[in-house]
């Protein structure tokens, strides 16, 4: 994953547990530096170790750390400097979700080793969509729940989200999103 992800994780851990907590997380994850280059690719194992160490440090289940990370990612990227770019993704949650694949495609021009996920949106009704999440990486479904929560808050929308784990109904993660 790219360093930007790790910087967002740092921001989350510092917000929740302070700078000292991040120092501990990096030590436990056995990473050489507490800072990451945003546009440099890192081995996925680094990312997984950071998540596991953050869960340990913050005394939270790994899934909860991933959920909080997904939620935090929305505000982090906007504050980090991509706020204006994000505004182009859509004026509401639906249009934004519909543009995620295109956005990742363009990110690939800058991040040549990006291995982005794919989001397929199926419109079930005016208030109900199913989001199909395909990823080359395992276990990141809870992060998508956080992303959806973060997006809903960003656009001021009320939603319920149900996560159907990979393998329950299909070979990928599915999320039922109901707009209230």
């Amino acid at each position: 994953m790219y360093g930007l992800i790790h910087q967002a994780m740092k921001d989350l851990v510092c917000t929740e547990g302070g700078e000292a907590a991040w120092q501990s997380v990096c030590a436990a994850a056995q990473v050489a530096s507490t800072e990451f280059e945003p546009l440099e690719p890192y081995d996925d194992r680094v990312s997984y170790r950071l998540v596991a160490a953050a869960a340990e440090e913050l005394e939270l289940p790994v899934a909860e750390v991933l959920r909080r990370f997904g939620d935090h990612w929305i505000t982090f990227t906007a504050e980090y400097g991509y706020g204006d770019i994000m505004k182009m993704f859509g004026h509401d949650m639906r249009s934004c979700l519909g543009n995620l694949n295109r956005m990742h495609g363009h990110m690939g021009a800058m991040m040549t080793q990006l291995k982005p996920p794919r989001f397929n949106v199926v419109e079930n009704s005016e208030r109900h969509i199913t989001l199909h999440y395909f990823s080359p990486r395992e276990g990141l479904g809870p992060m998508v729940v956080g992303l959806l929560e973060g997006l809903a808050r960003k656009f001021g929308e009320q939603v319920t989200i149900e996560h159907l784990d990979k393998g329950v109904r299909s070979d990928h993660d599915e999320f039922e999103v109901v707009f209230l």
Binding site: P38, Y80, G81, D84, I85, K87, S95, M110
Partner: protein
């Protein structure tokens, strides 16, 4: 081959483009163009809606055919949308249909959102997004670099300031002086207007009371602020300093006129008061000792870094106060040890002193008996009275001298001023106290020459104590030996005098040498020595800017005291006093 570009294809491939006939009238509009030019629609002439910015020279007309093969730039005549760039292509030669294939000129993502454009308004895969992402990433990188640079500069400033304050407060003996140094240094470095100190009063219900320590960049301008501050006391939790006390951390006030928790806001003159302030608690050894306040007329823009600095400042000042307290306690303990050692030394010489006093007392007794006998026989004539009373007076004078020297020796002299005194006088007085002891046990005391003009600046009683300790140690070392002598001699060495005490002993064993200056270390039998003599003597000599050492090259046991003629310590004390007296 005739080509057709229908509305669907126009929307999908060229959403910012339009189609016009040979006269320049618009006949079809791409779906996203209206976001840039709200007035563009079919039937209008494109030149009425757009200004042709490029090309401007060498163009024969404003019909589409005039622009074929050119790079064109159009700017909307209405609205504030971005310019469009592209080319004109002939779609149908027979019908005279032209495509104005355009794309908006965007150099910043904020331009896109400003006109309400979204991802979906662009053709799929439009490289403009790649470009915008690159631009934004570059901007973010530059911003991060600038932030890091500013942080580095700030940290450099702060560490330099803290380092400077460490140096300037290290040797400061009293807290008030340290506060004054810190308050003015911080205000000057940060260009803040006011710095001030509250200290905690003692008692069951302590309060913070204002001190005379102020920094005012403009004393006249801030006179009322000072007056209001000096007139108020704060309990724990009250006002800005009281809250810093309660929270035991830095507390800010962003606008003192608006903050209801800032009681001094009432009564401040318009426009002549600071805007923002901060209170920094100083907690030394777990106890609040002071709260420093700083105020500025310019709202601080980097509160996060400033807060970290003020946190460090409070900690550093607390360290200074703690160190001052420790030094004071150590001095008190040392003074107690010096006193104990002195009493021990007095105990050792008591018999000698008694003998020294007993001699004149016996002489007085004998003389008075003689005078009585002479009186009974009628032989006590005037010359005899004169002779005998003179003898008695001399004996009384001798006793008075010894008692006076004993009193001088035994009193606390640690706060005595440094005075210029003859080294010979110190030596003589010391020998008065201990000389008899040596004689009584047959220890030969050889005393070298100490010229009367050898003057040193010192605390005489303390130097006497050092000599007495060395002489007593020498006496103890040789008193039970066959060869018993002790030599006291002095010599001038550049800007110092060396006073050496050598005894006939065999020297000190190598494994003992390293420990002899350690407090409570003694080689004497239990009850014979406190083990403090040498360590205290060493402290006294060091305090005089000199050195006490064992001469390891000497055949016998030889301790040498090197004392500067003019003590540096003495000079720095005087400088300190001068500074305190300065206005």
């Amino acid at each position: 081959m005739r080509t057709v570009l229908d509305q669907h294809a126009l929307n999908a491939l060229h959403p910012f483009s339009f189609v016009a006939d040979r006269s320049g009238s618009v006949i079809a509009v791409g779906r996203s163009l209206s976001k840039i030019s709200p007035v563009v629609r079919s039937t209008v002439r494109f030149a009425d809606v757009f200004l042709i910015e490029q090309p401007t020279l060498g163009i024969t007309g404003q019909n589409p055919s005039d622009l074929l093969g050119e790079l064109i730039v159009l700017s909307p005549r209405a609205g504030c949308g971005p310019k469009l760039r592209g080319q004109v292509a002939l779609l149908d030669e027979t019908e005279g249909i032209f495509l104005f294939a355009l794309t908006p000129i965007l150099t910043d993502a904020s331009q896109v959102s400003a006109v309400g454009l979204e991802f979906a308004d662009f053709p799929v895969g439009d490289p403009v997004f790649d470009f915008l992402l690159f631009i934004q990433a570059q901007r973010i990188g530059r911003t991060r670099l600038e932030v890091a640079n500013r942080k580095l500069q700030w940290e450099h400033t702060v560490s330099k300031l803290l380092h400077d304050l460490t140096l300037r407060t290290y040797d400061v003996d009293d807290a008030e002086h340290a506060y004054a140094v810190v308050v003015s240094a911080v205000c000057e470095a940060l260009k803040w207007n006011i710095g001030h100190v509250f200290v905690s009063s003692a008692g069951n219900q302590p309060v913070l009371r204002s001190t005379a320590t102020w920094y005012l960049s403009d004393p006249l301008r801030y006179a009322r602020f000072r007056e209001l501050t000096d007139a108020i006391q704060f309990a724990r939790g009250e006002g800005l300093p009281g809250r810093a006390w309660e929270r035991e951390s830095v507390v800010w006030v962003d606008d003192i006129r608006q903050d209801l928790r800032f009681p001094r806001r009432a009564g401040l003159p318009e426009g002549a008061a600071p805007i923002a302030g901060v209170a920094v608690p100083v907690i030394a050894e777990g106890e609040l000792v002071a709260v420093l306040e700083f105020f500025t007329e310019r709202p601080p823009h980097d509160k996060e870094n400033l807060a970290r600095f003020f946190d460090l400042l409070g900690l550093q000042l607390a360290g200074v106060i703690s160190r001052q307290r420790i030094v004071k306690r150590e001095r008190e303990q040392l003074a107690a040890l010096v006193s104990a050692s002195k009493m021990a030394a007095l105990g050792e010489i008591a018999a000698g002193v008694a003998h020294e006093i007993n001699n004149p007392v016996s002489s007085i007794s004998l003389t008075s008996q003689l005078m009585s006998t002479l009186a009974k026989t009628g032989a006590l004539d005037a010359p005899a009275v004169e002779t005998n009373t003179a003898r008695i007076k001399a004996c009384v004078q001798r006793i008075t001298t010894i008692v006076s020297e004993l009193r001088d020796f035994s009193r606390d002299s640690s706060h005595d001023p440094f005075t210029s005194v003859s080294l010979k006088k110190i030596v003589d007085e010391t020998l008065d106290l201990c000389g008899a002891r040596f004689g009584s046990k047959g220890v030969k005391l050889e005393v070298g020459t100490f010229p009367a003009e050898w003057q040193i600046e010192c605390r005489p009683s303390q130097i006497s104590q050092v000599l007495l300790n060395l002489l007593n140690n020498a006496y103890d070392a040789v008193v039970s030996r066959d060869t018993r002598w002790v030599r006291l001699e002095g010599r001038e060495v550049a800007d110092a005098f060396e006073i050496a005490v050598t005894d006939s002993g065999p020297g000190i064993e190598e494994d003992v040498v390293e420990k002899i200056m350690v407090p409570f270390f003694t080689t004497k039998p239990p009850g014979m020595g406190t083990g403090l003599g040498l360590s205290i003597s060493s402290n006294i000599v060091t305090d005089h800017g000199g050195e006490l050492h064992l001469d390891r090259n000497a055949c016998n046991t030889r301790f040498a005291v090197v004392l500067p003629k003019s003590s540096h310590k003495h000079e720095s004390n005087e400088a300190e006093e001068d500074r305190e007296l300065a206005p």
